[in-house]
């Protein structure tokens, strides 16, 4: 059994809109071990993306405790959260979110520049990452010149280039056709087999089944877990 990389205890998220409280997440207990692949499923509005945002330190929980790699992260300052995201978390978004004014190479390089890595090291890492996703031949292209599948592969390269502790994927195939979707899922499987820890939000039961564990959300609560927890 691998050690817990993520430990969430009684996490909740409350949105206040016009003095009305909306409980987006309630009583979330979630542990994720190293080299696990967890898929989060549930209907629209069940809180999947909110949970992923809190896991990725893009948002903060309203209550509860969140330990990442054994360290409490829910009370970090914005700049410390940015530091943790940069070092330990890789994101793959449904809409790719590549920056249109940067080349493929520069997009993949971006998190490494924020890390202050020397140019030579950055170059090697970017080339390795692009090789892993089979996109090294398009390094000088702009995102607008790529297909959706290719853009998502570049996004995967950007996520893994910094060698993060954990990869978070939010509907990574949501904007892709089935062929490109399968290719991206194959890529994620390879990353998992190579040792990466993945948490993926998906609507597609077929893709969810590729994960080692599936967490089902409904109305902001975990209602079911299938598979085996590694932590």
């Amino acid at each position: 059994m691998s050690e817990a990389l993520i430990e969430m205890q009684n996490v909740e998220k409350v949105f206040l809109t016009d003095e009305v409280e909306t409980h987006a997440l309630s009583n979330i207990h979630l542990n994720v071990g190293r080299n696990e692949w967890v898929s989060i499923v549930g209907p629209s509005g069940s809180g999947k993306t909110t949970l992923l945002a809190i896991l990725g330190l893009l948002d903060t929980a309203s209550g509860g405790q969140y330990l990442l790699d054994g360290k409490t992260v829910q009370d970090l300052s914005p700049s410390d959260r940015a530091h943790v995201r940069n070092r330990h978390i890789g994101f793959i978004f449904q809409s790719f979110n590549l920056i249109g004014d940067l080349t493929v190479f520069e997009n993949v390089e971006l998190p490494l520049t924020y890390r202050g890595m020397p140019p030579a090291d950055r170059k090697k890492r970017v080339e390795d990452a692009l090789n892993r996703v089979g996109m090294s031949h398009r390094a000088r292209h702009m995102p607008g010149q790529l297909s959706g599948g290719q853009q998502q592969r570049v996004a995967v390269a950007r996520a893994v280039a910094g060698d993060p502790l954990i990869l978070l994927a939010d509907e990574p195939t949501g904007n892709l056709d089935s062929k490109n979707g399968q290719a991206v899922m194959k890529l994620l499987s390879e990353l998992h087999q190579a040792g990466s820890t993945l948490i993926m939000v998906t609507h597609d039961p077929a893709y969810a089944r590729l994960a080692t564990r599936t967490v089902s959300l409904f109305d902001g609560r975990i209602v079911e877990e299938t598979g085996t927890s590694a932590a």
Partner: protein, 802 residues
């Protein structure tokens, strides 16, 4: 460095990919920075730049003041100048006056700008000739004064820069001067003078001419003496001088010496207008910054997801702010580069239309100081327009912004900020427009004022005979004037010609005198009014009415009984509603002390400019009281060339090079008012255009943001007209708020401009109404395009959006 280069590269690439945005921002900044740089170069040249004569705090200008007459800055007489030898606080002092002299050339005479100085003048300023030597104290006195210094410019232009020029002789006003030195390059004082020659004071001037005031003194304070201390000691000296010459200084005039910093002497008259213009141009810059800030806010909203991705990748907030500020700096730098080019070009235009009265404008240039100011301005403008959008953009809600189709934080607060910027722009624009509008109305009132004569259809030509043939020979000068008058009158097409020693609006010259039958009331000063000397035909040539008695004629010559004319203001002042023809006046001097009968009354002319009421004036026949110079007025269809030719033929040694239409004389008197008005109008126009662009931008962005809402409204039955009304009313609400704030600000600041106005109050309601209407029309025009675009939105496609 690597990061900075990356940021710069990315910023440059981003700006290239959005040429419309980049062009709009750069042009707005260029206009703002360019206008500010141009006016700053004037501020620097006139108000800030070192005079270049070292230890400026010790340099002072000394004149006189007559508190009893309300005269704060008067000149010194020669005895008063030498009274300063009793001022222990002065380390050195010297004297200066300027004018022109006839330089005799090989073919004909030329009038050249000349300064009269004493030897102490250059000592005070610490100026040493580049070639030759300066004057010594003996050369201040008559008999030793046949020496001259020349400016570096004249040295190059007239002598080809040949050092052998030192030792050569020149003939000025018929007198020979030996050039003893060449002044250093760049030296000028009170204007560009070709020649500096000694006053050459006579013993009579030194001892007796205490009433002839024409000298300006410059002094260097002793080390450790400040201006306040010097003034106190100067008061004591004034008291001693008054006591020693009690017969020369009446109690009611309250004469004393006056001292001010030398810089103050140069900037006194122009400071207020320049500061006003600099304030105006800074407001234009603020409006430009507001425009660019608005553009950046809209651009930031469009790039919100990019910032969220960067943050998700680990960019801290400061890192994103730095990236955006880098873009801002790049925009500013491009704007500044274009702006400085515009400023250099604009300065050429500005100097071409600037009135000659502001002499320091000749020193205006874009130099290192001005470029340094522009660099500072660039940084300041970047902080003004880029910081707030950068801080806002860096505060994105990551979770929301990264969602597919998420709109993120760019919502109501950003829209409110953009609207607030437009409100501020409109307010500032109204402020400037009100200032320009008030000055424009003021100017319109002024040019409707009758000068008291007919400026159109007449030429004016200056005659200033000088040299041994004319100096101290009233008869020679009189004959010269009379010959000139005859030659002018004989030209084909000339209807009538006359002459006067000082044309209206061209100067002041007053003398105290006695009026038979008039006794000043207790405490009232002795009569002292403007005196003019005229040649026959003057009033007819000017189109000035003779309202009683007769005009002076050729019969009023040196042998005829002395006579005088007075104007209507004189009658109103001393004998209201009475017939003054036949009354007598007598000058308060020993030399011309005979009684003169008033032969007639003429209409008033605006002697001190159109904005000053006509003062009391009395006129003597030039033949009976011959002046040093005369301006002929020639009415009819005659060209300047033929007039110049006819006059030059009388005495080729005398230059005749100042021939100009009488209408230009009046126009040039308005130049000090017209020039700031023109600049302020340009700045107000710029502000209006920039504000219109701002209103358009915010309205267009608002329509784009509300496309879906407008689609819904149209889907449920809203007409195109109602959509147009909705968009326009939204824009007008913003503009209305700006109008209210701007009006309140302009009304409160009215006193800043009050002194520049004539015939219109600083709170003139009509001006504010017109300005408000103009801004509303401009706002409607600027909003019309987005409003019409909104009315053409296809509800189906709008509802499919997102």
């Amino acid at each position: 460095m690597d990061t900075l280069l990356r940021d710069l590269r990315f910023a440059f690439r981003g700006l290239l990919r959005t040429p419309g945005f980049t062009a709009a921002a750069v042009v707005a900044l260029a206009l703002g920075i360019g206008a500010t740089t141009a006016i700053f170069s004037v501020v620097d040249a006139v108000l800030l730049r070192s005079l270049g004569w070292g230890e400026e705090t010790r340099l002072v200008s000394i004149g006189t003041q007559y508190e009893g007459f309300g005269i704060a800055h008067g000149s010194l007489s020669v005895p008063e100048l030498y009274d300063l030898r009793g001022a222990p606080f002065l380390e050195s002092f010297g004297a200066y006056n300027h004018g022109s002299a006839a330089l005799l050339g090989s073919d004909r005479a030329e009038r050249v700008s000349t300064a009269w100085v004493t030897s102490g003048f250059f000592d005070v300023l610490g100026v040493h000739p580049a070639h030759g030597r300066a004057f010594d104290a003996q050369e201040d006195l008559k008999g030793n004064d046949g020496v001259a210094l020349i400016s570096a410019q004249a040295f190059r232009r007239r002598f080809g820069g040949d050092p052998a020029a030192v030792g050569r002789s020149v003939t000025l006003d018929g007198q020979s001067y030996r050039v003893i030195g060449v002044l250093p390059d760049g030296f000028s004082y009170g204007g560009p003078h070709d020649f500096f020659i000694p006053f050459g004071f006579s013993e009579e001037q030194l001892l007796r001419q205490r009433g002839a005031h024409y000298i300006e003194a410059v002094g260097r304070l002793r080390a450790g003496v400040d201006v306040a201390g010097a003034r106190k000691q100067l008061e004591e000296l004034s008291a001693r001088v008054r006591a020693a010459h009690a017969d020369q200084y009446s109690a009611e005039e309250r004469w004393s010496f006056n001292l001010e910093r030398l810089r103050e002497r140069f900037v006194r008259s122009s400071r207020q207008a320049i500061v006003l213009l600099f304030g105006a141009v800074l407001l234009v810059l603020l409006i430009a910054c507001g425009n660019v800030a608005n553009l950046l806010l809209a651009r930031s909203a469009a790039r919100e997801r990019e910032f969220a991705v960067r943050a998700a990748m680990g960019a801290a907030r400061g890192r994103i702010v730095r990236q955006l500020l880098t873009e801002g700096v790049l925009l500013s730098a491009m704007g500044a580069a274009l702006g400085i080019a515009l400023a250099a070009w604009g300065l050429d235009v500005l100097l071409a239309v600037a009135p000659r009265q502001i002499r320091e404008l000749a020193e205006v240039r874009v130099d290192r100081v001005v470029l340094g100011f522009s660099a500072g301005l660039t940084i300041a403008t970047t902080l003004i327009f880029a910081l707030v959008p950068a801080l806002r953009a860096s505060r994105v809600d990551l979770a929301v912004s990264l969602k597919d189709g998420g709109r993120g934080a760019a919502g109501a607060p950003a829209a409110r900020l953009r609207a607030a910027l437009v409100v501020a722009q409109v307010a500032v624009c109204l402020f400037l427009l009100a200032g320009a509008g008030l000055m424009l109305r003021s100017f319109a009132r002024l040019i409707q004022v009758s000068p008291g004569f007919e400026p159109e259809g007449a030429l004016a030509v200056e005659l200033a005979p000088a040299g041994p043939a004319y100096d101290r020979d009233d008869g020679a000068r009189r004959r010269y004037y009379e010959d000139g008058l005859r030659a002018a009158a004989a030209l084909p097409g000339v209807q009538v010609a006359g002459g006067i020693n000082i044309l209206p609006t061209r100067g002041n010259y007053g003398l105290s005198y006695f009026i038979e039958g008039y006794e000043p009331r207790a405490g009232e000063p002795h009569p002292s009014d403007q005196i003019r000397r005229v040649l026959p035909g003057y009033f007819a040539a000017m189109g000035q009415r003779v309202v009683a008695g007769r005009e002076l004629t050729a019969a009023d010559d040196a042998k005829a009984p002395p006579v005088a004319l007075v104007n209507e203001a004189w009658v109103r002042r001393y004998f209201p509603r009475q017939d003054v023809v036949g009354r007598r006046i007598r000058l308060d001097s020993n030399r011309s002390g005979e009684w003169r009968a008033i032969a007639g009354v003429v209409g008033d002319a605006r002697e001190r400019g159109l904005d000053s009421p006509a003062p009391p004036v009395y006129y003597f026949a030039a033949a009976q009281h011959v002046p040093e110079q005369m301006t002929l007025v020639v009415r009819g269809s005659v060209t300047p060339e033929s007039l110049r030719g006819a006059l030059a033929a009388i005495d080729p040694s005398q230059p005749v090079d100042r021939v100009l239409p009488l209408s230009e004389v009046v126009a040039s008197s308005l130049a000090p008012r017209r020039f700031p008005l023109q600049l302020l109008a340009v700045f107000a126009g710029l502000a209006l255009v920039l504000s219109a662009v701002g209103i358009y931008g915010v309205t267009a962005y608002s329509v784009a943001q509300r496309t879906r809402e407008i689609g819904v409204r149209m889907a449920i039955g809203a007409s195109a007209a109602s959509i147009v009304r909705m968009v326009l009313s939204g824009a007008l609400r913003t503009v209305g708020l700006g109008l209210c704030i701007g009006t309140a600000g302009a009304l409160a600041a009215g006193r800043l401009i009050a002194s520049q106005l004539y015939g219109v109050g600083a709170r003139d309601p009509l001006t504010y109404l017109i300005i408000g209407a103009v801004l509303v029309v401009v706002a409607l025009a600027a909003s019309a395009i987005p409003a019409l675009r909104a009315a053409r939105i296809d509800p189906m496609s709008a509802l499919r959006t997102e």
